[in-house]
Symmetry: C2
Subunit: 600 residues, 2 copies
Amino acid sequence: MAQPIADRRDVDFVLHEQLNVTQLTENDLFADFNKKTVDMIVSEARSLAIKEIMPTQQPSDEGCVFEGGQVTLPECFKRPWDLFMEGEWLGMSDDPKWGGGGMPKTVALAASEYFQGANVAFMLYHGLTHGAAKMIEEIGDDEQKKLYLKNLYSGKWAGTMLLTEACAGSDVGALETVAEKNADGTYSIVGNKIFISGGEQNMTENIVHPVLARIKGAPAGTRGISLFLVPKFRVNADGSLGEFNDVVCTGIEHKMGINGSATCSLTLGGAGKCIGTLLGEENKGMRSMFIMMNDARQLVGLQGFAVATTSYMHALAYARERIQGANMLKPQDGGVPIIQHPDVRRQLLEMKSMVEGIRSLIYFSGMCHDRVKLAKDAAEKAEYSELLEILTPIIKGYVTDKANEVCSHGVQVYGGYGFCKDFPVEQLLRDSRIFQIYEGTNGIQSMDLLGRKIGMNKGKPFMGFLGRIKEAIDKAKGIQGLEAMAAKAEKTYTLYTEVVGEIAKAAMGEKVLNAFAQSHPLLTATGDLTMAWMLLWRAAVASDALAKAKGKDAAFYEGQIKTCEFFVNNTLFITEGRLNAIKNMNGAVVEISEDAFGTK
Amino acid sequence: MAQPIADRRDVDFVLHEQLNVTQLTENDLFADFNKKTVDMIVSEARSLAIKEIMPTQQPSDEGCVFEGGQVTLPECFKRPWDLFMEGEWLGMSDDPKWGGGGMPKTVALAASEYFQGANVAFMLYHGLTHGAAKMIEEIGDDEQKKLYLKNLYSGKWAGTMLLTEACAGSDVGALETVAEKNADGTYSIVGNKIFISGGEQNMTENIVHPVLARIKGAPAGTRGISLFLVPKFRVNADGSLGEFNDVVCTGIEHKMGINGSATCSLTLGGAGKCIGTLLGEENKGMRSMFIMMNDARQLVGLQGFAVATTSYMHALAYARERIQGANMLKPQDGGVPIIQHPDVRRQLLEMKSMVEGIRSLIYFSGMCHDRVKLAKDAAEKAEYSELLEILTPIIKGYVTDKANEVCSHGVQVYGGYGFCKDFPVEQLLRDSRIFQIYEGTNGIQSMDLLGRKIGMNKGKPFMGFLGRIKEAIDKAKGIQGLEAMAAKAEKTYTLYTEVVGEIAKAAMGEKVLNAFAQSHPLLTATGDLTMAWMLLWRAAVASDALAKAKGKDAAFYEGQIKTCEFFVNNTLFITEGRLNAIKNMNGAVVEISEDAFGTK
């Protein structure tokens, strides 16, 4: 396949034509990242992803092996892990002070799309290692930074996140792991954690676990939770490894997908010898978690997106090759590639409109991160960081819902072959299903949108978000050929603003349960509208460029306009139907008795 | 769990209260099937399914073993296979002349729901055996009936269906298997078949393959296809087994789900020794296939439904037990079962409305079969058989799309546990994905609806189908408490009739491709409307019964009304949006160039 994982033409389109990423070079911080450098970074990431990581995808599906407390990862992981670290990809957009590459997040996300799309299970080890390092960088003390940061950013050690317990999943505040202060200021940790990605593995010489636990005597619920740094092997003051820290892996999960990622159950302090250091302040663990949570949730959106674009690339290549059935207009001519059949084209356009709209959204979120970093004043900083907060449940929730749908279309385009493990779309669909669940289920994301993000700061940031959508619609209205699409999108936009006002009001009143019964549909409608924004923006850029374009470029730009036309004229009608249902805010979900759901 | 697979109360409701199945006893043919007998049949099926078949579900996921041309099934299959056959369940609604049980199909489907829901992969062997037997019964000659029927209906031998080849999937007419007539009237068969469920296995002493092949010199395409009966071991004139018939299994597929079903590649006549007898007439193979195809497609709908109801039962039980998070109205009271959370209730109601609407639809299709059998005259017979033809793409296509969605909700309700193989919902989701593909992809089903069924016999049968929906709406309009739901459904109905007229007209004109680009959305809208019919019908029956009901019964009937209210006030709005998109019939899908889908 000429374009595995992602269509490079489209990656470049978003970076350079839609987002104009090299405008960031105006600022000293990003002065080095001119077009040539950006393109080289993407090319190198793409090459590493395709040549070294992608070949691990299928073997990785066979999973990890647990035996006697040890977890063995697929052997093929070691080489790409080392190459990835040697290439200094882990901290590519982080502070050079800790070994980071200091590149714009927008560019880093384009590179990451290739890495994640090549093997999302393998990349989980990187994601968690980066997350743990980032957390130490943000809230750790100097000693912790000195002992851990360099070894994490370099990939010598790996990181995790110990949050979930059997009775504390969505309800983190219910956790039971206990920390007791020792005379030397360290803490003894005792507890059991589950669903720990990379909780144990044989790829790195140490593993660093940030652990949520409750200090003895601390308040119940989330207000009594603290964060601790608990390494697998203790770290001596000179940075060398000390004795085993009593973090014992008791088993791994057997899962539907992402089988290359070891999902571990860990027992801490079973022998009374698990020691941790406080990370951040006592009882402020949840607040620290929330700092990282936006990043973690955006990463999950990226995972979903990367798996979806990979599925689209496979389905498209297959639809162009697979001969089956005649063209409806020329039955006498015999078999044609299935891309000629209307229902296959419909499915491919469902996939394309989602994959491309989401690519724009995710890279745009990177641009927001960069703008936060470069902000001239507090107001600009707040504008972009609040916009990111609003986009987060959309990127985590909506994107991963749609990614799963895209992957399901990918299977369907392959027909019977799509159900067989010999073809890549099968694994991608299984892999994609977890993203709707972890880092806060998509139900939780929808509650975050309705309950926190819409009303945040008296609704001003949300009004700003809507304003940007309106701006894109208004711009498209003035472009020849886009007027009708823009008008249709405006109709949906107007209905949305009306409905969101009503439901936000209801969520604060007596009908709060009725409102929250519509939170997930609202997330879907909000995501659809966000896609309309991104696709109209794309179509506007493509319309400008089309005048001077020829050959392949002309086809590409025409494709942008047709994709937007498809989305606006099909998906947005469904969005309107959904908005009408939300507006209706029917009470059946709330009123039906528990018994009436079915016989016990 | 008190109610695994299906809620018995709801099964009884559809059989006795909605469809009034015992009215069939008025006819001599079904005189024995009074309420007591019907209930006993369902109870026995339920008991066999739960005690003997359900325990094979998880082991069955480990799959079959292929070695040296032999396929070994999970060992646990043998006992339930024998018990099923001893209980004479295979031919429960077939002609007693061949060992059938002669029961109404409506009742047989209730029994089958339990069997299929217990282990759908295991039940595929039964489904195909039954299909092969039925085909021989319908079009075989006396010799074939004598040699094969009893052994198939008794489960001594198993049956299959050899249709697909590597280059002939959806396009059956492209097949390359060849038959050459021998001097004794038999045919020598040579070819390669793929995706053959149960093509080879060690559970029965013989396997009977109906095979699609082209007689040497026959026309190309579907007009030159004939059907042959090809046993694994030849059958002597006295019924005893003869020599191996050169049907060699060359491998099995490794799949996403239904792993207990061996999906085989078969080479016929590789050593020149595969002999078959003509089944039916020369070159009429496709016509014979079509006779069976409605049954086969309805069976796939049943498979999807049974997996979905099982997932719902699990998710409901889990949601009632799993403590996580506080009730939004009483945050101070601490953790509650997640069934109290609005978004979980919404998901459960999405599942419930689908599962119950589909149960009514499928049992109703059984009633149509029974009415065909009992018909007083040709007109009545035609009415019900044509209605069945219209319902078939809905049952195969819409039901299996929705079954997959229901199973995905099942996983989501379980949260992280839903992704783990220790919990049943994970396997059910994987199993459910094939139903959208085999026996004609759901894209093919949607083309069948738009291209054949709507316009069949000048559209009269389709008008009859719509008339039944309108009747249910009108009836509900007159029932206190249902007026608003009925009015809402009528609005959708009116829009549907308008849109279906336009698209059917377009499908026969210049805009044929634009129309067929909307065939799948149209199938979805048609299915939604069918669900509205079934749920309003249920609500009407429940309203009548509620007046006299108490306790559990009252909760059940109220649940019926609330479920209909949920569907009408949520899903039907989305249906309307989809209908508006269909009406719009935008041309982007048709107009976008192949190059514009993405870089090659």
